[in-house]
Amino acid sequence: MSATVELWLLMLACGAATYLWRGLGVLLSGRLNPQGALFEWVYCVAYALIAGLITLIIVVPSGPLAQTGLTERLLACAAALIAYRLTRGNMLVGLLSGVIFFMAAIFVRGLIH
């Protein structure tokens, strides 16, 4: 099997492995009442899982962010949230503030040029 064919098969298998959870969710969702206690539990699990994922990406990242400092990343989150609140929910201003602060901080600290 050529490397290209193998890579395509691998990619499709990864797609199927990801879809498994969405498909399972569809099949089970018909029995879930949005006003019920079980729905409320799944809702809490979903938000907790995503909060965990984002926390780990920010606190212990892999990839390019791993070369930056935890302090800069946390302060950038704070800057974004503060700017977002001050502008009464302007996401663009919030995100730009966070990212610009972050780039300035890692540049000043000499982490990235």
Partner: protein
């Protein structure tokens, strides 16, 4: 027929959600280009997997020559979140009471991602139940198209993005989810669950890193659920 709700979804996706996704996928495209994938494979992967963390796991493990089964397992584990996400989004989408064939539901589930889920869950609080399905389709279609186009741009532009900007772009996506979730959490359950999930993830990361994500969901989520006085009263 294009409904008004579909157009609302399209127009609300253009803007911050599309910009953030675009930036994230420029980063993805440049990583893929470094790995030497064809543009067709990259675009097909975006449509087939449609989850940036999973796509990055595939990329890393393939570059490291990991076994095929191990790669598929790792990608699947990174996608477990789609079960509770689909379980919570689908009933809200279907609250309009219209009966749809199963294949439509299954196909629509493929469009669920962090961005489409987080924005739609919040938006559904004030969106009429009858408009949700079309809104979601319009919103998600723009998100997927944006990801395809900007992944391609990132792949073609590789090397043209200075390191400082690349790092800024890398932070943009987690920052967007952070502000979306923390800044716009509207229900008390969501706020409690976010706090419990973050705390559990950090504790588990120190003692059992392999289980930190799953544990954050199950332990943190259950703790948040138990903390809701509503259920204590009802049960």
């Amino acid at each position: 027929m294009i409904s008004r709700a579909f157009r609302t979804g399209v127009s609300e996706a253009f803007g911050v959600p599309a910009a953030v996704l675009g930036a994230g996928f420029i980063g993805y495209g440049s990583l893929v280009a470094d790995a030497g994938y064809s543009i067709w494979l990259t675009m097909a992967a975006t449509l087939a997997i449609w989850a940036l963390p999973g796509q990055l796991v595939l990329l890393e493990m393939h570059a490291a020559d990991a076994a095929m089964a191990a790669t598929v397992l790792a990608v699947s584990l990174s996608a477990v979140r789609f079960l509770p996400m689909t379980l919570t989004l689908m009933p809200l989408l279907r609250e309009d009471g219209r009966r749809r064939p199963l294949w439509q539901l299954l196909l629509t589930a493929q469009m669920i991602s962090m961005t489409t889920w987080a924005v739609n869950m919040r938006r559904f609080n004030d969106l009429d139940a009858k408009d949700r399905w079309q809104y979601f389709l319009g919103f998600s279609a723009v998100c997927m198209a944006t990801a395809l186009v900007f992944g391609l741009i990132g792949q073609l532009l590789v090397g043209a993005v200075p390191p400082l900007v690349r790092h800024g772009l890398a932070l943009l996506t987690p920052l967007y989810f952070f502000v979306t979730l923390v800044g716009e959490a509207q229900t008390r359950s969501a706020i409690t669950a976010l706090g419990c999930g973050a705390a559990t993830a950090l504790v588990l990361h120190a003692i059992a890193p392999d289980w930190s994500l799953l544990g954050a969901g199950l332990i943190g989520g259950t703790a948040a659920w138990l903390l809701q006085s509503k259920h204590v009263r009802n049960s």
